[in-house]
Amino acid sequence: MVIDHHASRTTRLGEVPSANVLSRRGFLQVGAAAGGGLMLSLSLPFGNREANAADTFVPNAFIRIGSDGQIVLIMPYVEMGQGTYTSIPMLIAEELEVDLKQVRLEHAPPNEKLYANPLLGVQATGNSNAIRGAWQPLRQAGAAARTMLVAAAAKKWNVDPASCRAQSGEVLHPPTGRSIKYGALAADAAGMPVPEKIALKRPQDFKLIGTPAKRLDTPAKVNGTAVYGIDVRPSGVKIATLAQSPVFGGRVKSVDDSAAKIVKGVRQIVRLDDAVAVVADHMGAAKKGLAALKIEWDDGPHAKLTTEDIARELDQAALRSGAVAQTIGDVDKAMASAVTKVEALYHAPFLAHAAMEPMNCTVHLRKDECEIWVGSQAMARVQAMAAKAAGLSPEKVIVHNHLLGGGFGRRLEADGAVRAVQIAQHVDGPVKVVWTREEDIQHDMYRPYWVDRISAGLDAKGRPVAWNNRFAGSSVIARWLPPGFKNGLDPDSTEGAIDLVYDLPNFRVEYIRVEPPGIPTAFWRSVGPSHNVFVTESFVDELAAAAKQDAVGFRRALLDKSPRARAVLDLAAEKSDWVKPLPNGSGRGGSLQSAFGSYLAQVAEVEVSKNGAVRVRRLVCAVDCGTVVNPDTVQAQIQSGFIFGTTAALYGEITLKDGRVEQSNFDTYQMLRMNEAPAIEVHIVNSQEPPGGIGETGTSAIVPAIANAIFAATGKRLRKMPVDPAVLKKPT
């Protein structure tokens, strides 16, 4: 059978049958490994962003138990800081009964012939789905391998397998005190039948899952030996940097490269339709050469575009009716009978990803083959798009994946690889194309700008009886995975706006897809919820204020059907001292989020100065993300998401003027720094539900909590992010 990841998400862990039937044509295949040992090939599901081809077995993860006892996991999920390289091996180690240290991860196939192209079949890491997708199949694979190793030992000793057990990388036969290590059994185990029924461990027997395991990828990151995409140095590699048309859709009109060519170390100038690159011995020479170029641009059709134009178009679009994402009850009737009506217009800006590792890609284009070195969240996409750009078939494109210096959705795109191929077509030998920070920010693919028109009606007791939300903006899915956009809707754009935890009897959400002219949009950490949770949770706060009720109490009264949401809300309120008064100019704000399969409640404490400057002092989170694999990673990811979201709330905005992005580096596109970082507390709720995602949750969840805290401190409701201190400044 093919494990259905969506079904497994909604099944209570206690109800999962203790045995699962496996089929050789299902998600797992077992055989002998090259060089001796046991090889398991399995097919891991990806989230709803990738179409899963379920009719044929296409393995995308491999577990090899060598005759030396070393366990090697080759898996499709990438490490970009979220801890996947530690939490995924924990799942195998748990069922296989080995120490986490015995599991080694491999990035790319060490043997091209053995692993051939299926490894790159369907591949992307995003939507916080690695643990959600791997939870069942990897544990089952580990358990299957354990069963086969035990069977091999039992056969060797001629005893009943039931009298043996696995422990710490060996099989024991307690009645006789015999033991034999996995390495010595691996080859024989490959000949054992694949078990038809597999018993997974009961949660109370977990030894690793739920413990704060040390990360496996970090030792190389403290001494400079970790290799990110930008660090690769194939023999003879040249370094290129580039200037792309400052207006999206513009072209190169003319280039005077006479001064650039004579810069020491510059090898050649590559002119493309819409970009110019300088190829040099090192980045210093490439940058100096780039600065010496005189480029005239034809700005094209978007030469006059401004952010205001786009915002105005979205404002207008949100007046029209859209595709109905969810409807419950009769909103119009309920609204007509409401005692109090509240209406608001929310804006969420374009945002750049600004991963610390600037965009880069290294390409060696040979006559009939292309080799690529990159850190990507979506290797298969890189392979496909690079192949198209190079005019090769995908199997002629070899992609070496490396560590990512931050992904955040930016590295789900392959535009950088396509650009590098275009440059490599003019270069003899390998070329590493490195974007300057300015290019990285001004030629990002941005978190969409969204506009929400939202309204609600309250009854005489202040309870919401009608909720009507209509929003307009870009659909990233429609471009990135076109089959995912159906009937005017996609599952990403609406996550966090529909299926709310609150009991709202009359409820309607509509979406109007509007693509901004010329501006490429992309997934950005916390994706759809990054704007939906800001709007929804700010507006719930508005309703509490309109009802003259406490913001936590108001939410709580709507959570009778959502015990997990209510539990995290109560815990966050308790831990944050919600009821304790704060001095003037300070305030607390809360938010509640159900997204990515996890529940988060958080309270932000802010201080607003007379001149309107906002200081975020303290963030308290209560999280129920189901069964916790690595609690330290859960803590770290929420800390990380909160800082990412706080940065967006306080500073995040990409604006356009004359078709050009106005921000360019960390002086104009600011990041939260050490001296501004709030204290963060994370409280994890003990849960035996299946694991939820965690890498993105904090980012979307914290923005409305900060906006609500500012309201508590100042009485001013911010319906547009980022925070504008001028609005908050006290009149003198």
Partner: protein, 151 residues
């Protein structure tokens, strides 16, 4: 023009324009890729190295300004007692996520501890606010510096 520079105790001769940034000499000429490029304008601290023990943004430091100064990079910081203590604290506290900025963070933190063995929170803010971490590991960086200082 060939220049001689001292990096991690070794002398290297490099043939680049004198205004080339130290960062590119380290990464692209000498192959010491542990030092990272983040912004090119001394705004993010990813490129921090020590020049005679002083934390220095290598992305804006011209190679001809170095002279005979001793440059230390992330690849060699673990050979100093303070650097090793910082690295250990970083691992003990699980500071690191994507890790890209951490070379610079570790270089800034080890320079801080060399000049102030028991830094206050304000000292940490002063020394570390030039280093951006997009993964938001600030809370743990602060804890790790305190651990290294007390250990």
């Amino acid at each position: 023009m060939a220049l001689a520079i001292r990096v991690n105790g070794n002398t290297h001769s490099v043939d680049v324009d004198g205004d080339t940034s130290l960062l590119w000499v380290l990464r692209d000429v000498l192959g010491l890729t542990g030092t990272k490029f983040g912004c090119g304008m001394a705004l993010c601290g990813a490129c921090t190295v020590h020049v005679n023990g002083e934390p220095t943004r290598s992305c804006i430091t011209p190679i001809d300004s170095i002279g005979t100064s001793e440059i230390t990079t992330i690849e060699a910081i673990g050979k100093t007692a303070i650097g090793a203590k910082i690295q250990k604290a970083w691992l003990d506290r699980e500071v690191i996520q994507c890790g890209y900025c951490q070379s610079g963070q570790i270089m800034s933190a080890s320079a801080l501890l060399a000049s102030k063995p028991n830094p206050t929170d304000a000292d940490i803010d002063d020394a570390m606010s030039g280093n951006i971490c997009r993964c938001g590991t600030y809370v743990r960086i602060r804890e790790a510096i305190k651990q290294a200082a007390s250990g």
